[in-house]
C-alpha cells in the first residue's frame, strides 16, 4: 500500500463562490461573505469613522450581490474590486446624507478642517500610540479622493488593479492619487511634529499700530 500525501482541498475562487451563492448554495454564500466582509467593513469604517455606517454598508454590499441583476462582470475586474466599488458608493451616499451634520469631507485638494473629521471618532480606543493616532487623524482629514485610495491600498492592501475597479479610474490615476496622498500625509504629520516650523510658513499679519 502506497501512502500518498494528502493534497489540500482546492479553494473556491470568489467567482465560483458567487455562482454557488446565486444558485442557492448557502455554504457558498457564507464562505464568500466571511472571506470579504472584514475588509469591506474596515474600508467603510475608515472612510466614515462610524461603525453604524460600516455595518450598514457591509450588509448592503452583500444584499446587492444577492440580487440577480447585481451587475458584476468578471471581464471588468475581480469580484473583490467590484465589492469595494459598491461599498465606496454606499459610503459616499452616507457621507452625503451626513454632510450637514459632520463635514467629514471637503472633497478638495486643500488640507483644511482636519479636526472636524475626528470629533466623534469611535475608533480612538483601538490603539493608544500617539503616532498611530496622529496618522489616523491625518488619514481621516484627507480629501475624500485621497482618503479612499490610502485606505484601499495602504491600509487594506488592495492591489492597484482592484483599487482602480473600485474607484472607477485608471491604475495610473490610482498611483498618482496615492503619491499625492502620501505627500499630504507627510506634510500634515510634519506640521504636527514641528508646529513652530509650520507656523513659520504662514505669512505674518501686518500690525498697523
Amino acid at each position: 500500500m502506497i501512502d500518498r500525501p494528502m493534497e489540500p482541498a482546492p479553494v473556491d475562487t470568489d467567482d465560483e463562490l458567487l455562482l454557488r451563492a446565486q444558485s442557492g448554495d448557502e455554504e457558498g454564500f457564507l464562505t464568500l461573505y466571511r472571506r470579504r466582509q472584514a475588509g469591506l467593513f474596515r474600508f467603510a469604517l475608515h472612510m466614515s469613522s462610524s461603525t453604524a455606517v460600516a455595518e450598514d454598508v457591509t450588509q448592503e454590499v452583500f444584499l446587492a450581490l444577492l440580487r440577480e441583476d447585481c451587475g458584476y462582470n468578471p471581464q471588468r475586474g475581480t469580484l473583490s474590486g467590484y465589492l469595494y466599488g459598491i461599498a465606496r458608493k454606499l459610503v459616499l451616499r452616507h457621507l452625503e446624507r451626513g454632510r450637514a451634520y459632520v463635514p467629514l469631507d471637503t472633497d478638495s485638494d486643500d488640507y483644511a478642517q482636519p479636526e472636524l473629521a475626528v470629533l466623534d471618532d469611535p475608533m480612538v480606543d483601538l490603539t493608544r500610540r500617539e503616532g498611530i493616532d496622529a496618522l489616523r487623524r491625518a488619514v481621516y482629514a484627507l480629501p475624500r479622493r485621497y482618503r479612499e485610495v490610502v485606505v484601499l491600498c495602504d491600509l487594506e492592501e488592495v492591489d492597484y488593479a482592484d483599487a482602480a475597479v473600485a474607484l472607477g479610474c485608471p491604475i495610473g490615476t490610482v498611483r498618482s492619487r496615492l503619491h499625492r496622498a502620501r505627500g499630504l500625509l507627510l506634510e500634515k504629520l510634519n506640521q504636527e511634529r514641528n508646529p513652530r516650523q509650520a507656523l513659520g510658513t504662514l505669512k505674518p499679519a501686518r500690525c498697523e499700530s
Binding site: 500610540r129 498611530i132 496618522l135 495602504d154 491600509l155 503619491h179
Partner: protein, 195 residues
C-alpha cells in the same frame, strides 16, 4: 537620475531600485526615510484593525435574507419545475391526441372486390312500368298519388350517367329529352329519358 526622475520611477514604497540616487542625494534619502516611516505607520494602523470585522448580526441578517430568497427561488426545485412539467404534460397530451386523430383518418384497408355482375345489378336503376327512374333521396314514384306534374326538359346525357345508366363518355355532353315527375311540393321525384 535626478530627483524628479527618481520619484517618478518609484512612486511606491519598498522599491529601492534607485538606491544609487538615494546614496547621492541626502534630500531624497531623508524624504524616502519619511515615506518608509509612513509605510510603517500604515502597517501599524492596519494591524490595529486586523481583528475588526462586521458584527455577527450582519451575517445573521444576511443569512436570513439569503434563506428567504433561496426558499422562494432556489431551494424548492420541485416547485420550480412545476410550470415546465405542466407544459410538458400538456404538449404530450396534445401530440397523443393529434396522433390518434391522424391514425383514424388514414385510408381504410381495401375491401374485397365485388364481382362485376353484382356491381351492375346494384347500380342498375330500377325503372317502373312507365319508364320513370326514382331520383335518389326523393320520395320515389307515387303510383297512387294523383297530385303530380310532369315536366319535359332537356338534360345532358351526363345526368343519365349519374343515375347509373350506361352512356358512353364521349356522348356525355349531348342533350337528351326527359320527363321529370314533380311532386305536390314541387320537388323532382323521378325522371324518364325519352331517347
Amino acid at each position: 537620475m535626478n530627483c524628479q526622475e527618481f520619484w517618478n520611477t518609484i512612486p511606491e514604497l519598498g522599491n529601492v531600485a534607485g538606491s544609487r540616487h538615494l546614496a547621492e542625494c541626502p534630500d531624497c534619502a531623508a524624504r524616502m526615510s519619511r515615506h518608509r516611516e509612513l509605510e510603517a505607520g500604515f502597517r501599524a494602523v492596519a494591524a490595529g484593525f486586523r481583528r475588526v470585522e462586521a458584527p455577527p448580526g450582519v451575517e445573521a441578517r444576511l443569512l436570513s435574507t439569503f434563506r428567504r430568497q433561496a426558499g422562494s427561488e432556489y431551494r424548492a426545485p420541485s416547485h420550480r419545475w412545476i410550470p415546465a412539467i405542466t407544459w410538458a404534460t400538456a404538449f404530450a397530451a396534445m401530440f397523443a391526441l393529434a396522433a390518434l386523430l391522424v391514425r383514424e383518418r388514414q385510408p381504410e384497408a381495401a375491401r374485397p372486390a365485388v364481382p362485376h355482375s353484382i356491381e351492375l345489378a346494384i347500380l342498375q336503376p330500377q325503372a317502373d312500368s312507365d319508364g320513370f327512374i326514382p331520383l335518389p333521396d326523393a320520395a320515389g314514384v307515387a303510383a297512387d298519388e294523383d297530385d303530380v306534374n310532369l315536366v319535359r326538359v332537356e338534360l345532358p346525357r351526363s345526368a343519365m350517367i349519374a343515375l347509373g345508366l350506361d352512356v358512353g363518355a364521349d356522348r356525355a355532353e349531348e342533350m337528351v329529352e326527359a320527363d321529370v315527375m314533380l311532386g305536390s311540393n314541387g320537388m323532382a321525384r323521378a325522371v324518364r329519358f325519352l331517347d
